[in-house]
Symmetry: D2
Subunit: 417 residues, 4 copies
């Protein structure tokens, strides 16, 4: 029987949404063998199996243990194994060793997921009394959290497959997620003219505006100068011209730290671009691009992806333009001329990931979700072909270090007007 | 004879200023032996001798070679040895090896300085014809550049002396630069109330406002919310309370990258704080502080210095406050209640070092001065006891990575109002 | 029909031996899941699956491709993936990335093994004509090679399991390989007195002495001085006394490089010894020992294992003794008083892994088997509980770097007489 | 007045020898500025000033403090600063930071030397009573120790000068130590035929054979097989042929660890060989060689120097020969046909630096002199142009890790007969 005051309809929606999101994680993992799901190709990325477990741990640690007195943990040792970075929730397995966890097996992780699912269903069914609203908020947070890991699951397994000289595909080209080609080749050439003035930025907590992460708040005004924004994303074809023009050999185009990376790591193109031509500046026709569908000829009309902030900024410099700030991006997102905003690749902005004016992290473990990472990273806006449907938002602030290259990350140009 | 159109009075001022600034570098080095001036204690820092040479190279490479046809370089190999980071000016000696340059000797560097000085004097005397205005701009830039290195000379030699178990002083305590004590102990407790509204930020290039670095432009408006700003700096005594309260052991106070540093490098207090008490959280009375005057008992009324951004942010978190943004700092700098703004220690802000709206790096080597470092660093505002007199500015944007600890860097608190 | 001159009986023996050795590799892997068999816990160790593939590659690359014209490779890309270190056989997959090969799957590796087996059987059946003797030599080499990898398979998976905080066992304690306890506690206390004189060392190639690796040749005389050799191995109980006596805290017991390791890596006992007591020198009763059977109380009568050369040498120093040379070991191996020589743990000697007088590596890829590793390593003698039955030899020279700790490696004491 | 039983003549000899050796250290440093003497170019090498201080510390710590009751230390902090690696004598300054000790100044180190010298002279004058013989042994050890550092002073400063792009010389070419050219170009082509049999190896402690380090004892017999030994050293001209023949590109010539170094560090020739030709295998005429006399054209008749063991072994492999063992070298050193044994470059042998049969380190700090380094290094025999006159010995065992390249180290070939 639902607790007094509970809104059954809302709960039914939450229950349905819970089932959908949880099922989708398993669907994403389904094309992968147990071996595929176990390994870790770099410290930044995590094994598929770990994603499946950690997202379950989140519900267990944040919702079930504090709020469901009848809940019994599946295995107490999992609190150590599958905590990602929550200092408030105790010690945890070192991140670079996640790929050594051949045990628990994939089957045991599946059982763990079912156990947690059963716990959540029971809690939803029986209600949490006075904590009901908080439980629902945490469940919603947990689902958005799981969706974030669904995207990471794809980008991380892509890196695993990339590290394999056999260049295996996650799914056949037609069925694998990939950034869609631009509607037309000329589209990315147009500049949208944007006026100066105050723009309202961020998620409005007071309105019934739906879920947002804490880093999208508070909503606040910011003053913009007039600017031009590219209507579309920079394409692979355009990016290949930048390479062929010596873009990776000209330090004057690069930020200092970026140029140091280019040299230290021998960058010649985006992370997953492959060329048999070992020249420093291969021609556009030389390139193949690795993706979830395997290795394919470079498509000049697809958006460039898997580039770092440094590369995005160098390209913009070469193109006589710049990257937009995250505020310019958000202010323009409703512009009817703006294409490829939310379904293609994340777009690096020229904004460091700083807290919004008035931001305060929430107390407790939940407060570690975003706030403690607000230094030394850059904001990406939009969403990508790997973002779960319905997860994106115009106020969404994705963030990665400037050198991160394994995401579906590209760019849109801007200019002062 | 001055070139037509030259403003003799202005030139005379420039000439006098040139002599003053150049002489001061040698005065700062005077207490140091040739050995002291040769070594390099870490890749981030440079030898005194290198500072003396590099600042001369700057005049040679930026002014004399392009604009003084009669100038002959002192030694062409110095272009390689003393270029710091200007890609446009050719290859250069690797930064971590600057301390291995026992040759040229200190005496040869002194001769190099005299040679460059003679060249500059001749150029000022003879004029540069149509390039006169540009030459003067570059000379002024070179003097501000040398002043920046004067501060680094002090912070870098302090690190050299710190690495020496003998703990030698640069000068006797009374004569060595040190952040002055606060005027009164209660001062740092007051909050200045600052209104919301548009604030004009940055250097106004159009006005006869004097010199500024390019990163301080363009002047632009930014919207501020109401805030409180600490009237004074956080003192050593207050910081020692933070330590004694377990500040370096509580991850909930720290940004994630900061906490990783605390653990990896065993931080227990500011870089130059020394305690025989090997407890994790020594008491205030346990501390001595190393400075240019050697090792001294910690003075509770002196501002805390030589801390990283991570430590500044953690302290603010512990104190129930936050760091101000660089905009909040600049908007309040003329507030009559604001103390210790420009003569004590640089003040970490909560602002990443991003370009101002409309910023564009200048073309050529000069454009590398600031722009290419605009990622992954934080802005510090104000000035320090090691900043040359007259070098500071209210619009000055100093910047260092979040982990940098060897500068005269402290903090001032802020709060939302 | 056998080729003219073929010795059918010998071939039948070879065929049977081939089947036995190949089958045993699969038996060893059988208790492990596909996930277990895929990962790599450190660059020195290899995944189980990789061992299964590489040992097959060895037959393919060394025997089938050069000597079986009808053989078709299973997958030509495997030549790159499963070459270990043979420069003469082309480029190869980087060693530290062996654990990222989720593809080929374990099932595909099983199919690869069957394909190679079929090829070898056909070659044995049809004969190799004039190359028959060489083929047989190479097959025998391949089987001994595979047996070496069988031991590594166990030591490497033990390290994988060790890295797992769940401390899983490879097999239940009773069924897992483990060094047997000494026959009696007093046995290890006896000194065997060995005379001075010339000793014949190494494998006699001219005699029908059976297989040996090239590094065991040529047989040669060496002059020994009178010495005492411990009749048994140093036990865990004895080693625990060394620890409790401060053995890991006293630099005077250690070689310089060893002491540097102790401090840099925080060694407090053998690699797999675990103690809840976090004292620097835990007592004997504090220890548990991890092995293929999982975590067990330390058995004082079991030989100490999984120690480095540095630890063996430090223990000997503490015990007022020294390690034997490999020549002293070999000269005494037939001494009727010598126990625990070949079935327990490898025994570190005080001999660097230098070439024997007159040693020359064979031409071609086979010559890379041993010779190119003859610098910077130490010789271990005997064999271990993980060595396949029949693989050990009195002239066998195992070798590892001084810091290697993940083998079944212990020690036997010696003294000058 | 000398103590009873003292042998005045012997003391007078010791006194004279002390003065000579101590004076020579200062003579070697004389061409260098205080700056030159302060810096450290890599962790393996030490500053000149540190050598001057450490050799004085050795007399202070080993002789004066224990045996001269009236001695007062110059500065107690120097015990920490100038201890090299003696664990028994307390903690010490980290080796990689020796180059940061701008204080004590060079002048202070000179005063420290004079202070220690005065103490030694007084002790020699007043005698040490019953400890007299031990004092004399320790003083003799201290002088040989100082002579070892005299050679290191030269090889270490050569590395400092090498790191300087100005390529400064220590002394003008004619006056700087350098390996002398071979007497005639054909000399190195002759093979000395050496018989099989027992050879007596090592220093005879019982005879009045003069000083030797502990690692040269005990004298013992070893059995040699017949061998051929090159009458002279491998010359630069021969080595240049090896390079031009692709020696640095052919893995089959190299030990495995050596080949890894070649690739990781981009070796193309000996450490100090310079070629403008950036081909992988420059021609002999392309090379210049840096030495204490600066950069000079490669002299084909000079012995190759500043090579690692890996390079020596690869060259021997290319030449169809091998390196001699240290026993073969010592057994042949009196052969009248042997040239360039003791005055040119140290000669890498194929012998690991293992203890001689019966070797035991002495108790106490002196026992740390050699014994604790007996693992992971190779023996070099002979002496070099940088070895102080009278310091070499036929039984001398020099040792360095296989990758060490900054010594005057070359090779002599050997072959089985």
């Amino acid at each position: 029987m639902p607790a007094a005051g509970k809104d059954c309809a809302q709960d039914a929606g939450l229950q349905r949404r819970y089932e959908q999101v949880r099922a989708r994680s398993l669907e994403l993992a389904a094309p992968l063998s147990a071996e595929d799901q176990c390994v870790q190709s770099m410290a930044d990325a995590s094994p598929t199996k770990w994603h499946l477990a950690h997202t379950s741990w989140f519900f267990e640690a944040m919702v079930l243990c504090p709020h469901s007195p009848s809940y019994r943990s599946f295995d107490e040792r999992y609190f150590y194994l599958f905590n990602s970075y929550y200092e408030a929730l105790g010690p945890r397995h070192p991140r670079p060793q996640r790929g050594l966890l051949t045990r628990p097996s994939l089957e045991e992780i599946h059982a763990y997921r079912r156990h947690v699912d059963a716990g959540v269903r029971r809690l939803l069914r029986e209600g949490a009394g006075p904590a009901q609203a908080q439980v629902e908020r945490l469940l919603v947070l947990g689902l958005h959290h799981e969706q974030q890991h669904q995207e990471l699951l794809l980008t991380d397994i892509l890196h695993v497959l990339w590290c394999n000289p056999l260049r295996p595909a996650y799914l056949p080209p037609g069925r694998a997620p990939a950034p869609p080609r631009a509607a037309g080749p000329a589209q990315s050439q147009r500049w949208l003219s944007r006026p100066e003035g105050l723009a309202s930025i961020g998620h409005d907590d007071r309105a019934a505006a739906g879920f947002a992460f804490d880093n999208e708040s508070p909503r606040h005004d910011t003053l913009l100068r007039p600017y031009l924004l590219g209507s579309g994303l920079v394409s692979c074809g355009e990016y290949a011209q930048f390479i062929a023009d010596g873009g990776y050999r000209d330090p004057s185009l690069w930020l200092s730290d970026g140029w140091a990376r280019v040299q230290a790591e021998g960058w010649r193109g985006p992370l997953y671009w492959v060329s048999e031509n070992d020249a420093a500046a291969p021609r556009p026709a030389d390139w193949e691009v690795f993706g979830l569908g395997g290795l394919q000829a470079m498509d000049p009309d697809a958006p460039v992806s898997q580039i770092s902030f440094y590369e995005a900024a160098a390209y913009a410099q070469w193109a006589g333009a710049r990257l937009p700030t995250e505020f310019e991006w958000e202010a323009a997102v409703d512009d009817p001329g703006l294409a490829q905003a939310m379904d293609s690749v994340w777009q690096w902005t020229r904004s460091s990931y700083d807290p919004y004016p008035g931001f305060r992290a929430q107390p407790g473990a939940v407060g570690e979700y975003n706030g403690k990472f607000m230094v030394g990273q850059l904001v990406l806006r939009g969403a990508s072909c790997a973002t779960p449907p319905g997860h994106g938002r115009h106020t969404y602030r994705n963030f990665f270090p400037a050198q991160a290259r394994w995401q579906f990350s590209g760019l849109r140009l801007a200019k002062d007007d």
